[in-house]
Amino acid sequence: MIECQLKINLEGFTLDAKFSVPDQGITVIFGPSGSGKTTLLRAIAGLEKGDSGFLKVGDSIWQTDDNFVPTHKRQIGYVFQDAGLFDHLDVSGNLNYVKKRKTGLKKVFIDSIYTLLDIESLLNRRIGQLSGGEKQRVAIARALLTNPKILLLDEPLSALDLKRKNEILPYLDSLHNQLEIPILYVTHSQDETSRLADHIMLIEDGKIIGNGPINEMLTSFEMPLSHSGDAISIFEARVISRDTDFNLMHLEFNGGQFIVPDNALPIDSLVRIRVAARDVSITKKKQSDTSILNIFPAVVEEIVPEGNAQVIVRLTLNGVVLLACLTRKSSASLKLDKGSSVFVQVKSVAILN
């Protein structure tokens, strides 16, 4: 568990963050530019010092009202936005910088980090010879060598073009799957959030306005993310079988089975599915003569207007929450109301890994 209550006054800006997040998985700190995401991360690292506060990561207390552990004594891994590699040293020099200061690192541990980020072949390169994606990999490896209790990533992909982003995302997936420490990941990208987050912490004007599991944060009408034509729902499913005749695969989730184009994922693998609210339509009776394959029974939980002409409907499919974006007219003619039993038709889904 990470418990944090930090207040920091900077010129013209106040960060007042009180939250706790679980000590596993990726928590994405999401918010617009200037909302205080980076300041929060810096405060956790001890790079910004507030007047008062409390910070506890695992069993280490890093800050209380009368005790402030300086950055170099906190067991953190911090990856800066532009990687922050020392360019007076080469790649091994950058990594050795940590090894010289942390004694007793086991070779197995070091090797596992090198393998995880695939940097063995980069060791003799100069920093200027690395691509943006390679720099980030080296920076993440360097941060992990400190054997941190928490990994802080400050928009690690924001300086990269799409190609480089796609190059490094699989490495972030493996961090996600293999690391046992909590990761705080700052971003303002919805794509990165939906692919990587287990939890989302929403920050606005220096205040935490919401904090919880990803789909809860995406679909709760208390949260701003659901009030948009771009609203999405995210949930997990498992590959259970494939249909070789039509080159499709079947994904099972609590609400039923999705049929999607086969992307060669092995049977039993877990996948993360993203459904855009725009791609969900609602019928009262189950349609049979339709091209849409993914139709599930659902119950309407809540309806809120979105703009003048549209509504966003939150539905549950046997416990799984899904958003649909409809016109107000459709909602009225279907007489949708809280508790209505309906069928949802999902026109398309995205598989995120």
Binding site: A45, G46, L47, P70, T71, H72, K73, I76, G77, Y78, F80, G84, F86, D87, H88, Y97, V98, R101, K102, R126, G128, Q129, R142, A143, T146
Partner: protein, 229 residues
Amino acid sequence: MLSETDISAISVTIKLALLSTAILIAIGTPLAWWLSQTKFKFKVVFEAIIALPLILPPTVLGFYLLMTLGSNSPLAGFLEYFGGGSIAFTFSGLVVGSVIYSLPFVVQPLQNSFSAVRIESLEVAATLGASNIDRFFTVAVPLARSGFITAAVLGFAHTVGEFGVVLMIGGNIPGETSVLSIAIYDHVEAMEYSQAHLLAGGLLVASFVMLIFVYLFNRHFSLVRSRDW
């Protein structure tokens, strides 16, 4: 050929320049670091004081040094109390004068290259477990190395080239405080132009070589850093 007094002037000069440069780097480094990092409101006052030797006539500086360090000064009395005495007209006096006179030539390049060290680099080092002093020596100093080369060479060359201050505070005592620039002046006074040529020409070539070295190093350095592909 070089006379014995010429050779002793050269050796005094080199000794003076080496010692002054070492002291200048030792004093200038923390001073330049402080100036590059501080948000102190009156920092500009310190910058102005350090820059004073750039514009003051060396004789003015030498005069005040003489007043401060001479045998009738309170400082000399203070030193005498501890078994010392006036350091005017001694080699130590020359060193003190040179250090003050050449301070801006060392502090300014150091301050510039320290200012160019991004704070982020130091913060990165902190997150990797490096303490304040550790960060300074393993990140700030290596990143500012071109500043150190420039500072050392300028400090050395400027000390070699000084005239007014050393004349005022040193008094041209052969083997003790008689330096190269004064030796040249003496030769010219005595109309020994060939010997003046020899010393002046040697100084010219040496200064040129030193500057070439600085520019080459800094160019090589910036090329290495900016190469990117």
